[in-house]
Amino acid sequence: MPFGYGDFKKPTFKKISDVEWIIEKNFKQGMKVPVKVVATKKLVDGMDLQVYDQATNVATLPGIQKFSYVMPDGHISSS
């Protein structure tokens, strides 16, 4: 999907530290683990909502352990 398109829900982030932010399991049906975003607040605010949509989809995968992680350079990619 192109950048900035689509109707993606904006998540609420729980702050763990200056560089750790959690999206809780109840954000999307089927999530087995929370999402952990490793990034500064500035980077978190600047990320395309589709990044969080992808990460929360990953969180539904069978056997996933601990968290679905987003790194500080998180962005949409088709490759």
Binding site: G30, G46, P62, G63, Q65, Y69, M71, D73, H75, S79
Partner: protein
């Protein structure tokens, strides 16, 4: 990035790995200084442009029959070194020792063989590149490690970024299609996102993909190994000394689109997990078994590439990286689409402007240059700082571009 427990129905997913399988970065040293190299930068980049095919499609300089290619897919970097491309030492400075030992070419489709067999020795396009970089003295962040790893002030190093080209892409496509067919019907896994189609790691389909993915990994190891040979040849030609005398050893080769089987402690229990790193780089803390001998006590070297205007970083895996399954960032991350970047910048203007700022870029396409404008990317320093604060990777030095061959 996601780790799945293979002994508890954990899946493997091509979407969690990336289509450019084992896309990664290789960093190479020289014993040359900025003053020695700068006068020749145009010659060097122009020669690299002649010797390393770049751009979409394109046949590589390594001529192979399909049978020979199948051997490459089984032996990876080892095939390359055994056939005169590079040094045995290069394999000691590559993740997985330059070979996915679990690969099985029998799991690769004939379509994938067809797409890939003439692409060994090609850079690719998009954000793939070969860059000549300068270690400014003030950019050495960890003096002890820099020195230990062969980095010195005002040194010139080379970094290149490429992956498994059409090969990896086709393999990922083949298995994504297969998984979409079986995941719900056979394994009762609901398809929430088609791009994340998956199968249990321990299923026939899961194992087949893992072995085919191994072949794509081997493709990229062989690809980067053969390109390294060309880079050494160019420097050798320009400076009239052999690559050994020019001190052109590798620092390291990392991938940022791969899944690897690793042991990690989860809730006090040691588990074997498949760590899917799509757009994430492995960052192993000191002592981990994955780290080659020469770096084991330091932590694994990490290479994070920025835009062609800003520079890249060499880092080391840090003590707290266990909390991200030994993973860190891979680049600075795009902030806008390629089409938007092309609307905002003109390739020719950008090239002229960069040359004035001391960066000589040669590219296959002007549009490709515009897509890669620095403004289309996040601030690399900020990304690196976030990984440092999180304790997952720590900067050793920042590397500034002075020349670039772009695909």
């Amino acid at each position: 990035m996601a780790a799945t427990d293979i002994n508890d129905g954990g899946i493997i997913s091509p979407g969690g790995i990336g289509f450019d399988v084992n896309c990664g970065m290789r960093l190479v040293l020289t014993n040359l200084t900025h003053d020695q190299v700068k006068p020749h930068i145009k010659t060097i980049v122009d020669k690299l442009f002649q010797k390393i095919p770049a751009g979409v499609g394109g046949a590589g300089f390594v001529r192979l029959t399909k049978d020979q290619f199948r051997k490459v897919l089984m032996e990876g970097g080892h095939w390359a070194v055994n056939n005169g491309y590079g040094w045995k030492d290069d394999l000691d400075r590559t993740e997985l020792n330059g070979i996915a030992s679990w690969a099985d070419v029998g799991k690769v489709s004939s379509r994938a063989i067809e797409r890939g067999y003439n692409q060994i020795g090609t850079l690719g396009s998009g954000n793939h590149y070969c860059e000549i970089q300068w270690v400014k003295p003030e950019n050495i962040k960890d003096e002890r490690l820099a020195k230990k790893w062969g980095i010195f002030p005002n040194q010139i190093v080379i970094m290149f970024h490429t992956g498994s080209r059409g090969e990896g892409h086709q393999i990922a496509t083949d298995y994504l299609t297969l998984f979409l067919q079986v995941m719900e019907r056979k394994y009762g896994i609901k398809i929430l996102d088609r791009e994340l189609a998956c199968a249990p790691f321990n299923s026939t389909e899961g194992q087949d993909y893992f072995k085919a993915m191994g072949c794509a990994v081997n493709f990229s190891f062989a690809n980067r190994q053969t390109i390294l040979q060309r880079v050494r040849e160019v420097f050798s030609e320009v400076f009239k000394k052999d690559a050994e005398s020019l001190g052109m050893h590798m620092v390291f080769d990392i991938a940022h689109n791969r899944a690897t089987l690793e042991k990690h402690k989860i809730d006090g229990e040691m588990k074997e997990v498949l760590v899917h790193r799509k757009g994430a780089t492995a960052a192993y803390y000191s002592g981990r078994e994955e780290i080659p001998k020469m770096y084991k006590e330091d932590g694994s070297p990490v290479i994070i590439g920025g835009s062609m205007e800003t520079g890249s970083y060499l880092l080391v895996g840090s003590e707290k990286s266990e909390h991200t399954f030994c993973s860190t960032a891979h680049g600075s991350g795009r902030t806008m689409s390629r089409s938007r970047a092309k609307r905002l910048w003109r390739g020719e203007d950008l090239l002229r402007d960069m040359e004035k700022r001391g960066i000589y870029v040669k590219s296959v396409s002007f549009a490709g240059v515009a897509e890669e404008a620095g403004g289309a990317y996040k601030d690399i320093d900020e990304v690196i700082e976030a990984t440092r604060i999180a304790g997952i990777s720590r900067p050793v030095c920042k590397l500034i571009p002075i020349g670039n061959l772009k695909g």
